[in-house]
Structure formats: structure tokens, C-alpha cells
């Protein structure tokens, strides 16, 4: 597709999911959800436990296959059947605890599975170290050495390393699943700064959380799910933390 940057409505959205259904046996986890992320936008995906947030983004990241519905990426209909498909498109997911290997160095973690190699598969340590430090610097995280072990870092710094990794690999959309859940207030603040940095680099972010206080200051738009349905999709300007909190706990209305 030869894109004209000043295009119409389609051009503005990076991802558009329409009418997504997902059943787990008899459980109807997603009931026809529409979900859109625009370029360089931070979307807060909020909802109570079991609302379908994780299921929705797992469909997007190729972990689950939707039973019905379509996904458009950069205006094109796409089939995402594996996390590899998603990554090829530029969709990267940062999971809470499963992102990093604690006993390995920062640079080995950032390039895990995608090592920079010279010949015969031997790693180019210099390039990996340089790339790691650059990626960390670009999200505003200054660490001493690319050889430091992940286990030596604070929780916030670890999230930073995971985020730097997706930045380095030129993701277009980054999905963060509860990135602040196990962090202290100060560390969570640091992570929110990393996320803003991603937007500055032109990367869209989906931020899943049930902590509205974390997501509210940094997100541009909020999508609220309740029991597998989207019950609200509002710009930050048009809402407040209290209103969102009320929406989350309110049962979906059926007329």
C-alpha cells in the first residue's frame, strides 16, 4: 500500500479491531469488541479483573486466535496467528514477569532471541552493548554497564530494559500488560516516563491496568471493558478518574 500521509480516516489508525469475539468453552470472553489505536497514541485499556482486557490484547499479540472479527493494521486486513506474526507487523508485548532473564546481562536480555551476529552465528558483543546503551538512553534510563545483571536492577529499571528492547526493534505498537503492578510509587513514575518517551519516538502504546491513577496522567484515551464488552471509549479531555472508576464497576446495561 502506497500511503499518502495526509490520508483519510483509515490512515489515522494504526490498529483497528472490529467485532472481535472469543469463547473459552462456554465462556464468552469477548462479545464483539471494537478497539482502535491511532498513531503515536497512548491508550489506557482498563477494566476489572476478568473484564477481557488480557484476552483482547492476547488476540492482538497472536497468543489467542479470535473466533470472529477482523483486525486491520495500517489499513490492511491482517491475520495474526502467532506472536511471530504480531512481531513481524511491529506489535510487541511486554508482559509483567516473563520478559527478562534475571541472571543474564542487560545487553544479552535486550537481544535475546535476536542476537546481533558477525559470522557463523557468533555474537557481536560490541554492537549489542552499544545498541543496548543507546536504546536505554533513548528512553531516559542511564545504567552503568550493559553487562550488569537484570537481578541487580530495581523493578522500574527492569521494566525500562524491557521497554528499551521493543524500542530498539522498531516496534510500532507496544502493549504493556500491567507494567506498574509490582512497583513502588517512584518506580511506577519512572515507568510512566519511559512510556511517554515511546510516544515521543512515534510508537503507539496500549497500557493495560486496573490502577487508574497510574494510567490517567499518561494516556490520551481510555477504553473500558466490562464482562467482555466495551462500555466506554473516551478521550482524556472528556472524562475524569472518578467517572472512569464508576464506569469500571458499573455492570453493562442491556436494553
Amino acid at each position: 500500500m502506497t500511503s499518502s500521509p495526509a490520508g483519510g480516516k483509515e490512515e489515522k489508525s494504526l490498529v483497528k479491531m472490529a467485532g472481535v469475539h472469543k469463547w473459552f468453552g462456554k465462556v464468552h470472553a469477548l462479545k464483539g469488541v471494537d478497539f482502535e489505536v491511532r498513531h503515536s497514541e497512548i491508550v489506557g485499556l482498563v477494566g476489572d479483573n476478568g473484564a477481557g482486557k488480557s484476552t483482547l490484547i492476547k488476540v492482538l499479540s497472536g497468543y489467542h486466535l479470535a473466533d470472529k472479527g477482523e483486525i486491520n493494521f495500517e489499513g490492511k486486513r491482517v491475520n495474526i496467528t502467532s506472536s511471530l506474526d504480531a512481531r513481524k507487523l511491529g506489535i510487541e508485548t511486554v508482559y509483567q514477569e516473563q520478559a527478562l532473564a534475571p541472571n543474564m546481562s542487560i545487553s544479552r536480555n535486550i537481544f535475546m532471541g535476536r542476537e546481533l551476529v558477525r559470522s557463523l552465528g557468533f555474537m557481536d558483543k560490541k554492537a549489542m552493548d552499544g545498541g543496548s546503551m543507546e536504546a536505554l538512553k533513548s528512553i531516559g534510563l542511564h545504567l552503568r554497564s550493559p553487562d550488569a545483571l537484570i537481578a541487580m536492577l530495581s523493578g522500574g529499571e527492569r521494566q525500562g530494559v524491557a521497554i528499551a528492547r521493543v524500542l530498539h526493534f522498531k516496534a510500532k505498537l507496544v502493549i504493556l500488560d500491567e507494567p506498574t503492578i509490582a512497583l513502588s510509587v517512584k518506580e511506577a513514575q519512572q515507568v510512566l516516563e519511559f512510556i511517554k518517551q515511546l510516544r515521543k519516538e512515534g510508537i503507539s502504546v496500549v497500557f493495560i491496568t486496573h490502577n487508574l491513577y497510574h494510567v490517567f496522567p499518561s494516556a490520551d484515551r481510555f477504553v473500558v471493558l466490562t464482562r467482555g464488552e466495551k462500555i466506554a471509549d473516551v478521550e482524556k479531555k472528556g472524562t475524569s478518574i472518578d467517572e472512569l472508576a464508576e464506569l469500571i464497576v458499573k455492570p453493562p446495561s442491556h436494553n
Binding site: A99, L100, A101, M123
Partner: protein, 341 residues
């Protein structure tokens, strides 16, 4: 007076630099193993009767014996780093040795026989890997099963008879020279093989991307998988490496003994794990180094040898090795915690 103050400051700076260097030295996984190895060697040198420990004959015997366990331990160390165990080495090793002896006795070319024995080793390793990975069974159990199975098959088929090789394989063939000869009449070929395997596996583990996958698989399998690493394949390859090394050692040992014995490699399974652990490998995987395992194997061997020379009763030696393992794990865990703070 000023003069002395400055000297004091200088010496303080030197001490600071030294202690930082020392800490850095100990942060290398193999460092504490090296220190203990040297310590043990010194102790045995001084305290064995007539300093028998450093008698050239003892050193030579050690040099011929140690690589048997050492080469197997290198593979086990790598396997443990990716988070798995292999208890079947003590059965795979004689099994492959048996394959070699049967084939070569039937007149097959020795190099081919070795190649096929190593291929069988790779297959048995692959089987261990498949059972573990596809069956979602802890490798501890899976390889306990295969250990007993292959040992049983071997015992029944060989009737546990030793098979001498000298009847058809006169000593001094070039094949034998390459595997178990002596370079310059001094350096046993086994040592060279031990070093060669150590270097090859060390380079792969520490500098090749496959090594990075091994560490990632053992350290956080979910993360490795999420980043597109085929952790199942990584584990299966590590199991196969162990099998291949077992076959090689089986044949090497066979040539040294001049006869096949169904009890070859008996007890290697736990000794290899002990060597890995003493070398700083974590039982849960993700941590370890080839240099560490190399030194770990040396340490276990000289511990045994030194104690024998000091006339410690055989069963007492087992107690010492047990003690050494526990002390090492405690030391390693402590150093690790210090490092991470």
C-alpha cells in the same frame, strides 16, 4: 609528616583498587572454584605421604582419568544451564562403548565405528530430550527411566561379559594414538581432548547465539519463548551433546582399559552433576560457565585422588565429596547474593 599522610592515602587507594579487583575476580563464576582447586592441590601436595600427590606418576594417572568424567561433565554442565538433568549418562556411556566394540569386532573401520557409536549417543540423547520436552516430564525422572532401561538392555544383551579388544585391535594403532596416546611421551591425549571439548563448548556457550539461548532457556523459559527462542529445540540439542560426549568418552575409556565393561561410567551421573555444581552451575539453570565446570571436574577428581593418597577409607571419601558439594553450594549462593546485593 605530610609525607606519611600522603603515603597513607596512596596505600588506601591501592587497597580500594585491589579490593575492587578482588571483588570483580570473585564475580566470575569460576573464581571460587579456582581458589578451592588451588587450595586443595596445595593441601594434598603437602599432606600426602612422601608428597605422593605431585609425584609425576600420580599426575599422569590423574591426567588420564580426569578427562573421562570431565568431558561428560562439560555436557552435563551445559545441559544444567539450560535447566535440565541427565541421569542416564552412566548407562548411555557403556551402551555406546558396547556398540563400538561390537561393530569394530565385526571388522568395521574404527573411525566409522566411533562415528556410529557417537550417532547412537546422539540418538539416545535426543530420546531423553523428546521424552522430557514433549512428554512434559521432569528430566530427572525421564532420564532416571532411560538410565535403568538402557542399562537393563545392555546387561541382558552383553550378558555383562567383558570384551577384550586386544584380540582384534593390537595396541599402538594410529586410531588409539589419537584418542589415548601420549604427546611427546608426556601429555596424555585425553587431556588434549578434554581441553578441546572445553574450548569448543566454552566458545559456543559464551560467544555463540546458541549459548545465549541456552542461558535464556534455563534462566527464564517463558521469556525466552516469548522472544522467539525454540526452547524445546535448545534443550534437545543439549541432551544430544551429552549423548555424543558420553559415546566419545565410552570409546576413549574402552581403549584405555583395553576391554569393554558393562560397568563403565557407573556413578558418572551424580559425579558429573557434582562437578557442575562445584563449578558454580545452578541446579535451577541459567547460571554456570564452562570454565567452572572444567575446574569443578578437576576439583572432584583431585579431592578423590588426594584423599585416597592420604589413606582415607573409600567410604569416607564419599562423605568428603558430599561435604564439599554442600559447602560449595553454600559458598556460591552466598557470593551470588553479595554480588546482587
Amino acid at each position: 609528616m605530610w609525607e606519611t599522610e600522603r603515603v597513607n592515602e596512596d596505600s588506601q587507594a591501592v587497597i580500594a583498587v585491589l579490593s575492587r579487583k578482588l571483588l570483580k575476580f570473585f564475580s566470575y563464576r569460576a573464581a571460587d572454584t579456582l581458589v578451592v582447586f588451588i587450595g586443595l592441590a596445595l593441601i594434598f601436595t603437602f599432606f600426602t605421604p612422601h608428597h605422593l600427590f605431585i609425584d609425576p606418576r600420580n599426575i599422569k594417572a590423574l591426567a588420564k582419568l580426569t578427562p573421562d568424567l570431565g568431558i561428560v561433565a562439560l555436557g552435563i554442565g551445559m545441559l544444567m544451564i539450560c535447566g535440565e538433568f541427565d541421569l542416564s549418562v552412566g548407562a548411555v556411556l557403556p551402551f555406546c562403548s558396547y556398540i563400538f566394540v561390537v561393530l569394530s569386532r565385526a571388522g568395521m573401520n574404527l573411525v566409522f565405528s566411533l562415528g556410529i557409536a557417537m550417532g547412537v549417543g546422539a540418538l539416545l540423547g535426543l530420546l531423553n530430550g523428546l521424552i522430557t520436552v514433549k512428554g512434559h516430564i521432569p528430566s530427572f525422572i525421564a532420564t532416571l527411566g532411560t538410565m535403568m532401561f538402557w542399562r537393563g538392555v545392555l546387561y541382558v544383551h552383553s550378558l555383562m561379559w567383558p570384551i577384550g579388544i586386544r584380540a582384534y585391535l593390537p595396541a599402538g594403532s594410529s586410531f588409539e594414538h589419537v584418542l589415548t596416546g601420549e604427546i611427546g611421551g608426556v601429555l596424555p591425549a585425553q587431556v588434549v581432548w578434554f581441553v578441546v571439548f572445553g574450548l569448543v563448548l566454552g566458545v559456543v556457550l559464551h560467544f555463540h547465539k546458541f549459548g545465549n539461548w541456552v542461558y535464556a532457556t534455563g534462566d527464564n523459559k517463558e521469556a525466552a519463548r516469548a522472544m522467539g527462542i525454540n526452547t524445546d529445540r535448545v534443550k534437545m540439542i543439549c541432551f544430544m551433546i551429552v549423548g555424543i560426549l558420553c559415546a566419545f568418552v565410552g570409546v576413549m575409556q574402552l581403549l584405555r582399559l583395553g576391554s569393554f565393561a558393562a560397568t563403565q561410567g557407573l556413578g558418572f551421573e551424580l559425579k558429573a552433576i557434582a562437578a557442575s555444581v562445584v563449578g558454580g552451575t545452578f541446579l535451577m539453570g541459567g547460571v554456570g560457565s564452562i570454565a567452572g565446570v572444567f575446574l569443578g571436574a578437576l576439583t572432584i577428581q583431585i579431592l578423590e585422588n588426594g584423599l585416597i593418597l592420604m589413606r582415607v577409607p573409600v567410604f569416607g571419601i564419599s562423605a568428603f565429596i558430599g561435604l564439599a558439594i554442600i559447602l560449595f553450594v553454600v559458598l556460591n549462593t552466598y557470593m551470588r547474593r553479595r554480588m546482587i546485593r
